[in-house]
Every structure is written in structure tokens, then in C-alpha cells.
Amino acid sequence: MAGVVAAAQPAASWQAPAIAVPQAKIPWLLLVPACALLILLFVLPIGYTLLLSVTEPYLSLAHFQRIFTVPLYRRVMVNTFVTSLLVTVCCLLIAYPIAYVIARRDDWLSRILLVAVMLCFWTGFVVRTYAWMIILGNKGPVASMFTLLGLGPPPRLLFTSFASALGMVHILLPFMVLTLYGVMQRIDPHFSRAAASLGARPTTAFLHVYLPLSLPGVINGGILVFTICLGFFITPALLGSPRDMMISQLINQQIQEMLAWGFASALAVVLITATGIVLAIYNSLAGLDRLWG
């Protein structure tokens, strides 16, 4: 295929103009601080983690064996992925209509929605997590509503997997909305109108024209939310129960309570690898440079 393309083009029809490129070494030097920072803050610590995971307390792969053979740790892994997937899907289902309205309309509604999403985005996620603790707590509005309507005591909400998933969906929703909005904003509204003029009903026009065009946003938002969710820590720790622990909570527990740095490092390596695989798949499909729209 590549050969065909190459052959079809007149060979050597274009030559680089003979402009002397200055021996530019200085611009490369400008990269040194950035590279040093990256090495210091990312390459070295991650390398150290990798090293610890196979050398602490002695040289072996036992930590990795333990992660994949002890049922509890396997369950934490599975739970992390299932929860992340669930949160991503929920975010997508809620965010798509919101982003659609913001992108397609230019009136008070779209502005209110955009402001609401941005406010959410800029409010610290710890604050929002605590807000959920109040809302879902025994003296919160949900419980009061149950009492008011005479439905008896409310079901247990706080410290459940439901609360933890709800909190994560809420916190990650702005990421999804903004990513979708970025893509949808650039979809030419004429396309949908053209489809309609050719006789497509609104549903058909949406399914065959708009949806495929917005798909990059769906994938970008999904990847973003999913990878953030994989490493989520505070929200599940505060709102969830120990039974639906995520991998970051396990890492934290191993370091803080068990002082098992080797095992914690091995878990971190698994988390980094999993995130890397997700991003690598994305890269081969779409290219990482398009992640932010």
C-alpha cells in the first residue's frame, strides 16, 4: 500500500531548499531544565518504585506473584477496573446530553449549564467529597426526605460502594463534559441540517452524522475518566467501605499501616502498567496528541 502511494507520486519532485541551518545547540540547552525536572519528578521516582518492587526486602518477583494469586488482591484489582468502567459509563451517559446542549445551543440554558460544570470543575474534589458525606449522612437531606415522606429510616447510603461510585461520577463528570464539549463545538451544525434536507429523520441524522463525528470526544473523555478513576483514592476512601477497596487505597494501606514498601511498590507498578496499557491502546487507535481535543 505504502509502495503504491510512493510510486504514484512523482519521485524527487520536491527538494529541500538549500538554506543553511545554523548549528543550533543553544535551543537544545533550553530543554535542559524541563528534562531535569521530568527526570527528577517522574523518571527517577518511578524507576525507584520499579526497583523496590523487585528488591524489597530481597530480590524476587514474589510481590507480583502475591498480587495475582491471593484472592483478596485479585479482587481489589478487578474491583478497581470494574468500578472505573462503571464510573466512566455513567459519566458518559450523563455528560453527553449536557455537552450536547452546551455545544448546540447558545442561550441562557447552555450558559447556565456551562457555568455549573465549570464551578464543579474548579471546586476542590475533597470539598465535594465532604459535601456528599453531609448529603448522604444520617442527618443529611436524603435522610430527612425519607423521614418527611414517612418512608421510615433511610437505607444505608454512606460508606457503601454506591456512595463511592456516586462521588466519583460527580467528581469526574466535568472532565467528561468539557472533553465532549471541546469536540462537539467544532462539529459543523450544517452537517445535521444537510442530513435533514436529504430526508433523514432527527434520530437518523443524529445516529449517522452527529454521533460518529462526536466519537473522538467520547473516546477521549472515556480514556481520561477511566485513567483518573484507576488511581482514585480519597473519594472511595471517604465514602466507600473497606470491602470495595480500590488499588490506591491498598497501596496506601500497605505503606502506612504495614510498612510493606516492596509490596506497595509492586502494586504501584501494576497500576502504572495498567494505565500505560490503556494509554498505549488509545495511542495506537487515535494518537495521544489528540487526547485534549
Binding site: 521516582p45 483478596l72 465532604y130 443529611g140 502504572i272
Partner: protein
């Protein structure tokens, strides 16, 4: 109600700020801040965690690699020349009481500043001693944790050129640890939830039919195993050596009814004060503090876990001289009496009782009536088994 909660949130923020005016104060830093955020449910979050949440999250997202490097990058190590002692403390009312009873009088007497790091972290002691990066010099724990730290070689030998042996009551020096206060972890229930009398024993706590309601226990393995064995009919004097399998089997029964396992004392207070749970196993003085504040609680002394809290100095700290001066000071009757009047724990120095009213003394874990009803954790039996027990308990909790 939401508004009320928010008001309390701001009140607490104010309370937290106030001690810092009294003296130089540092808070948990590095990754411990993040964890403690998670552990301090409700409004008692560490300010260090809430101040800069976003960089922290990126820290976590970047993986434990950054986490591991965090202490090296942002951990502080005060210089040896600094005339100060760094103390790891429980935070909340405990630290506030220590401030009045220990820190301020000590600084006034010696000129040595006391800086605190909260909340407590036993696990970090090992990391501090191994890395030589002294985030604090003085720590403490019940006879179990102290003995464990002693066994692991993490304690600085007592410097008798600074600390005068004759100033410490007989029996209050154990190895390199010095006795602090006696404390009890008791069954506490809300009187408004059980107007006709609540659970009176751990067997009652396990009886979810007769006493329905949300339950909460301390996330400390040996404490809850003690309760489980008591509930299963083991006599108090036969708890140790512990039948772990029997204890875990009994814990299996209550597990679905435990709404949350508390880790920080302030968290336990918030949970019972807000009525998030109806009965709880918590420290006696923390419950007493709520009762004094008007929260309708009953402390059940039957089956209390009665332990002595020891203080110790971390091995190799460059501020050992200041630390031993501090250790001697807080073992004296007057500071202990002052502390135990504020927090109704029991002083280890018997002379302190001369300065404590008989009514106040009655409420303390040192009350012989309460001692009879309680079980003391057996440090000799537990200390060598703690690592294994902690792991087993964590796995049990998550399964």
C-alpha cells in the same frame, strides 16, 4: 440541617486554628496528610491535606513512585541545633489538653519550643528511624505499640544524664518507655436511641436483634478481638493468650453490622455525636468530652479495654537531649494532673491524684471499680505478633 453541619465545619476549622497561636506548630506533611485526610472522616481533616488538594492528587495519580520519593523531597528535618522538640500526637482535644498541661509549661520552664505533628502514625516511626529524617522526636502508644517499637529497636535508650531516675515513680519506666496516662476503650451508646437502656456488655453489642442500630468499632485488631472474645463468653482473665481463630469467627458475625471502622479519635467522636452510628467502641475521655458538651451518651465500663499509654524517644534523633527533658517534665504529678483534668484519662504518677478532685478521679480508667471490669492488652503476647495480626485483620476487613 445541612447548614448546621456546615456551621460546625467552620467552627472546627476555627478550633483547629486556635492552638497555633499558642506556639509554633507543624502539621502532618508529605503523603501522611493525604492518608489522614481519608482517615479523618467529617470535618476533622488535617489542614495540611485540605490546603493543597490538587497537587496531592497528582502525586497519587503519578503513582506511588512519587509517593515514595515524597518524604525525601518535601519531608522536613529540623536541624539538631534547633532548640525544640517535635512530638507526634493524636490531635483534637488530646493535643489541645497537652498544649495546656505539657507544652506551654515546659516551654515556659526550659525555653525549649514544642512542635507537634498530628495525627499519630506508628508505621511511620520505622520509616523515620530508617531514613534518619526526623519528622518528630517523641511518640507514644499503648503498652502494645510501645513494646512493639522497643522490640524493633526503634527506641532511643534513656539518657540518664538528662532524665533523673529519682523523679520518675517506681515502675513507670519500662525498657526505654515512660508511662504516660491510663486510657480505656469503652462501649458507648446514644441514650436518645436507647431510652430504656442500651447494651450493657459486648454480648449485647453483638445482639443485633435486641439492640438494633448502626455500630462502629475501632480499627485496632487486638481491641476488637478482645471484645469479640468477651462477647463469646471468654472470661476477662482468659482473653490472653488469645484464641485468634475464635475471635475472628465471632467478629464475622458482627461485621455486616459495623457501619464504619474508625481510625482517628476525632472521627469516632464525630460519628457518635452526629448520630451516624448508635453505639461505638471508643476512648473514655473522648466520650466524656462529648457528654460534657451535652451529647446524650452513656459510657459502659463493663468490658472496657484498659491500657497504659507510654511515651518514648525515637532512636538516633539529633534532639534527644531536649526530648529527654520533655519526657521527664511530662512524667511529673502537676502536668499529669492538669492533663487528666482536661481529658479524663488516669495519671500514671500516683502523686497527681493529690491535685485531682475525687469526682474527677472517679471518671478515670484508674478507678479500681472500672479496672475490675476491664481487660488489659497483654503487650508481651501481642508485640511479637502485631505485624502478622495487623495483616490478617486488614485482609479480614477487606474480604
Amino acid at each position: 440541617m445541612k447548614g448546621q453541619a456546615f456551621k460546625r465545619l467552620t467552627n472546627c476549622a476555627g478550633r483547629r486554628q486556635s492552638p497555633s497561636q499558642g506556639g509554633a506548630r507543624t502539621y502532618g506533611r508529605g503523603f501522611s496528610g493525604v492518608t489522614q485526610m481519608a482517615k479523618n472522616i467529617g470535618h476533622h481533616a488535617k489542614p495540611a491535606g485540605s490546603r493543597t488538594p490538587i497537587p496531592r492528587r497528582f502525586l497519587l495519580r503519578a503513582g506511588a513512585g512519587t509517593l515514595l520519593a515524597a518524604p525525601a523531597i518535601i519531608g522536613h528535618s529540623a536541624s539538631a541545633e534547633e532548640n525544640a522538640v517535635y512530638v507526634n500526637t493524636w490531635g483534637g482535644s488530646w493535643t489541645a489538653a497537652e498544649d495546656v498541661a505539657f507544652y506551654k509549661p515546659f516551654t515556659a520552664k526550659t525555653g525549649i519550643a514544642v512542635k507537634t505533628v498530628a495525627p499519630m502514625s506508628y508505621a511511620k516511626i520505622k520509616a523515620i528511624v530508617q531514613s534518619g529524617n526526623y519528622e518528630w522526636d517523641v511518640s507514644g502508644g499503648t503498652n502494645v505499640e510501645s513494646k512493639e517499637a522497643q522490640r524493633l529497636g526503634l527506641l532511643e535508650p534513656i539518657d540518664y544524664s538528662v532524665l533523673h531516675r529519682e523523679n520518675i515513680p517506681e515502675g513507670n519506666i519500662v525498657g526505654d518507655q515512660i508511662a504516660g496516662v491510663a486510657l480505656s476503650t469503652c462501649l458507648v451508646y446514644r441514650k436518645d436511641k436507647f431510652p430504656n437502656g442500651g447494651p450493657q456488655s459486648w454480648a449485647d453489642f453483638w445482639d443485633v436483634k435486641r439492640f438494633p442500630g448502626a455500630r462502629c468499632l475501632y480499627n485496632r485488631p487486638y481491641t476488637v478481638l478482645t471484645y469479640a472474645l468477651l462477647a463469646d463468653g471468654v472470661p476477662p482473665d482468659k482473653i490472653y493468650p488469645m484464641d485468634l481463630d475464635r475471635g475472628f469467627r465471632k467478629l464475622d458475625q458482627i461485621k455486616p453490622h459495623i457501619k464504619v471502622w474508625w481510625e482517628q479519635a476525632t472521627q469516632s467522636q464525630q460519628l457518635i455525636e452526629d448520630g451516624e452510628v448508635d453505639m461505638i467502641g471508643m476512648w473514655n475521655a473522648r466520650a466524656q468530652e462529648l457528654i460534657n458538651r451535652g451529647v446524650p451518651l452513656e459510657i459502659v465500663w463493663n468490658g472496657n479495654e484498659n491500657s497504659m499509654a507510654y511515651k518514648f524517644v525515637l532512636k538516633g534523633t539529633p534532639r534527644a537531649k531536649q526530648a529527654w527533658q520533655f519526657m521527664e517534665f511530662i512524667a511529673q504529678p502537676e502536668p499529669q494532673a492538669k492533663f487528666c483534668t482536661l481529658m479524663s484519662y488516669g495519671p500514671s504518677n500516683p502523686k497527681a491524684f493529690d491535685m485531682i478532685s475525687p469526682e474527677a478521679a472517679k471518671r478515670m480508667p484508674t478507678n479500681p471499680e472500672y479496672q475490675k471490669l476491664g481487660v488489659s492488652p497483654n503487650g508481651d503476647w501481642l508485640a511479637p505478633r502485631m505485624a502478622e495480626l495487623r495483616e490478617r485483620f486488614a485482609q479480614w476487613l477487606e474480604s
